[in-house]
Symmetry: D2
């Protein structure tokens, strides 16, 4: 059975397992106060071109989103997101469980545009009754988006400026950041992400790690006693090494970027093959997630030999489907899929 189900169906890139094994018997203090965690942070800082970033390693994406958002918002504030944002749709209400409304705005190909935000903020600020409404307290986006699309540097710059004009911190969910920044269609670098955001995370789980995300505060804006916040959320690993050692390996010799580049190249091949065979794109994604429109008959036939996800039924006979590549996707698998189309 071929699998293009997701980018989290295999374990870790072998180099990560090797590094975990190599450091396994070194005695390290717990909770992230150890030299290996420091080393991983240094390597991430170097990749970001900054030496003053504040970094907290966490386990998964939803956990990272909820901790980042809950830590920044005041009780009466909500987080602005495109309606397609992961925090709005697929986190089982984690943000609301922490007490905050997701203020969802219409998306544009999965993105939240600066002008959409501006229109919303002007209406909010002009409303006589806005003390009875949820106050927007920060903005959430994902790069690449849940549809695999990318903000251009111009779009992200405009959004960042708009956020800051209204006093809103900008938070970027980088669950698949490696696949985004390494797309040939991407015109920005990690340093742009650092400069334009107030906090963001570099996703590990979907880019080669067994688990782990690196939450990064870019403006010395990590809240006081953040360790206690993380602990309180049940998110502080006793053996932080399991995440930090994997990040150390990911940011050694450019592994993180190589994983992204190769998976996106295979995704582009796969997209070209679908298009050539006459399948319609549901969304034109330049990253490792590809969305097509298939009929029920096509879905049933393909699913006999390939695992992939159904994103949404468009009508009783047609669905948007998702094919995903990752560090673990082989050329052989892509070729085999192409032969099945």
């Amino acid at each position: 059975m071929l699998s293009f189900l997701s980018d989290y169906t295999e374990g870790a890139h072998p180099k990560l397992l090797e590094h975990l094994a190599a450091r396994n018997l070194v005695s390290l203090p717990g909770y992230g106060l150890d030299e290996d965690t420091d080393e991983a942070k240094r390597k991430i800082c170097a990749a970001c071109g900054r030496d003053d970033l504040q970094i907290q390693f966490l386990t998964g994406g939803t956990q990272t989103n909820l901790i980042a958002i809950a830590a920044l918002l005041k009780s009466y504030e909500g987080v602005v997101s495109a309606d397609t944002g992961h925090v709005n749709s697929h986190e089982a209400g984690a943000i609301e469980y922490s007490g905050h409304k997701v203020l969802s705005l219409p998306h544009t190909e999965g993105k939240l545009l600066a002008e959409t935000l501006k229109t919303y903020m002007d209406a909010f600020l002009g409303d006589e009754n806005n003390e009875h409404m949820v106050r927007p307290g920060m903005v959430y986006i994902s790069q690449p988006t849940e549809f695999g699309t990318l903000y251009s540097l111009a779009e992200l710059t405009a959004l960042s400026e708009t956020c800051h004009a209204y006093g809103l911190p900008l938070y970027i969910d980088g669950a698949r950041l490696g696949y985004g920044l390494m797309s040939p269609a991407c015109d920005m670098s990690l340093r742009d992400i650092v400069e334009l955001s107030d906090l963001f995370y570099i996703g590990g789980t979907k880019v080669g790690a067994l688990c782990g995300e690196a939450l990064i505060f870019t403006k010395r804006n990590m809240p006081a006693h953040f360790l206690a916040v993380v602990k309180q959320q049940g998110a502080l690993l006793a053996k932080m090494r399991v995440v930090s050692q994997q990040f150390d390996a990911l940011f050694t010799d450019g592994l993180y970027w190589n994983i992204g580049r190769e998976a996106v190249a295979l995704a582009m091949e796969l997209k070209a093959a679908f298009v050539e065979k006459g399948y319609a794109l549901y969304m034109d994604s330049p990253t490792n997630q590809q969305f097509f429109v298939l009929t029920r008959e096509q879905i049933d036939r393909l699913r006999e030999q390939v695992a992939f996800g159904i994103w949404e039924w468009l009508d009783p006979d047609r669905a948007a489907v998702r094919f995903v590549t990752s560090w673990a996707t082989t050329r052989e698998a892509v070729d085999a899929l192409k032969a099945l189309l």
Copy 2:
């Protein structure tokens, strides 16, 4: 200055003050365990044609909504509401603060229609990933709605049946229930509300009381230890009498219904006068809230002599505005307003 700003700009209907004064020196135990509270409950039960209702008096509408919703939902569930629902728009995130998402669906003249709910539920239940989504756990509507419109008996019956087909309790916000049920356009009675809902509240604050709402569980479905829930939310009055004695008076000799009938009659006069003068209706409301479209110049001119609310700016020059009548609105005030149009 004339005021049509809202239905909570004056104190209490005089009969309520009289009853508070008459009972003032009677010694009663606290927290609702008193004979006056029992008496008020009996009168409400009689009006509802049922003797097995479970009733909790609370202070205000947002408080009632959040307690009702938080008490019924499990942690991973959300409340379905029209996007124009009070819980979604004007409660400063009270529902989310209690941990739950408001699952907003498109409204139809302020109403949530059965078919809108059905389409949503079928999509939710058919989604492969719905364990990662907020599970709908109950439905919230208001009668009359935030736009003053009314569900017909057929609409409410259809919605109730759809809710129950999916296992969702139906909760009705009756902040202005008296103004709704007494509208000439209303084809249902309080008994229909009782039968079709799982819980609802009869609003006091906006229908003649200084404060107070009566939250009513219609199916012996009040959660265990509900008093502790109310206490925990900071909503348990030591002197429950302040609310229950007012409700006693409201449900003596049909006062609650008389208040509703008279205020709606004045509102209908007011609407007719606006229409006659050529003003456009923003929403055709058969209850005590009336919505018109006015130009900025008209607004500025009228506001010199009349207080009323701006609902929403439709464009830079035109706004939807709201005029509200209540038990305290006099014929003289309506006539004076008409003369100003």
Copy 3:
């Protein structure tokens, strides 16, 4: 049946009802943005000898405590309280429901002493693992305490200084403040309360009002958008007048203080009578709550003619019991009780 059950068994002091009635038909905007609320605030400010206090009217004591505490604490902080504190024992977990631990310390006659706090803080700050513990973020006390006892000016000054030495705001629950400050045993004034606390509340419900408490920030330290916080908690009254007009009356011609003085005088008589008859004091209270030790037989006999509360069973045959006076307690009732002892 005589009642010494509590100070919330009757309605409102007649002057409050009179003032509500006198202002009943005046049209006022909602939510506290009205002239009557402003007037009540001015009178409270005058009584406090300050013109820069920030005041929010709320409905009840638990509500006030939870809003005050939740508004000041960060998510990882807790509130320090004597273990006998109302927030620790009799609020059904309202503070914890808002996400915060009550850090309970041993009481001394219901009081939290400066040295108790100091010992605790030094241990906390000296603990290597304190990032894994709940961080103390503020201090809660009540004056008078839950046992009717009073902090002396020296005790309160020492506690306030200790709080501030550790950066902890001091919050004073004044549910019965009028009965405390008017005790002959009290050596402090309202102005001392204002100066030594960071926020406190003047209780109305137990000192003559139907409902209502005045939460007061003494250092221009009301959090931003506090109205939204109050709304979010379901605590913002549409008709704020119901509370503010009562406070206006309470702070007109010293009514609040007269109520306190007279009720305490009757309580002192009552205590003297019990003592004279040989009953043991459970706690020597100089305010309107009196605690005695009674046998089961004495309790059963007295309860035939008098309502009073059982505080705690000390052993199977003896209980601490509570007798409370208020503005509504008459000399006749006290004389009748004395005759029964």
Copy 4:
């Protein structure tokens, strides 16, 4: 530098890393819906002598505690714990953050005894005002305790019976369960834990895993939609394999028990050596955590060559200290430490 700081200072037992590597490239669906997770659950069930257990793998101890407790309690309930319980003291308020009070009772050598619980419950149920108090909703204990001590089978049976007599589920924190059950002083088996508790967890992080705990519902009592609950808390791993594969290895060929047995044997040697040298025991622990009383001078001297934890300063010159063994502790290290005493 020798380290007896804790049982989470090294990585994973080598057999766990081997198993992770062996299964690394197998494609598995996410979120625990995979065959490897099923296999780990089967092995745990076999060890428990039951085939109907419901198991959820989680990442760490605090996370497991808060999810277990929040999932079982109603909003107005609290969890009863010894005051020394981890949930009461060292989880940064995670339980309270989820909305629930920890109802702490006096411990007996770190344990909560049945009679302590009984006394508390009888007082609670007999209190006239208990609707104003936090209702006890479940009981939390740890086996072994935070002091390394063990409940005997008789003590645990009595506690379990008392819990159930009052309708309280019993939850056992087994962060170090392997070190407890393998102590020569332990007179119970894993099957007793299963039978006497309503839910418990088998700790992985401190017993050989990089991360991971197995939360086990023993009575088909896993709440509905528990996956959504876990997701909502940010605790659902996309690659659940990282935990389940480690548990598979731990429960293959009795590895989990061997780790426990060997570490406890070394701890017993270490205790004997301290005692022989005349050091006082702070607590007489039969498991892998050992507590002694050392002077400041002894601490300073030893810390030059050995890492260990300071538990609590008893007076300015003496502290309770903790030495911990684990699967990673070598005989050489124990011998070296003994030579330093």
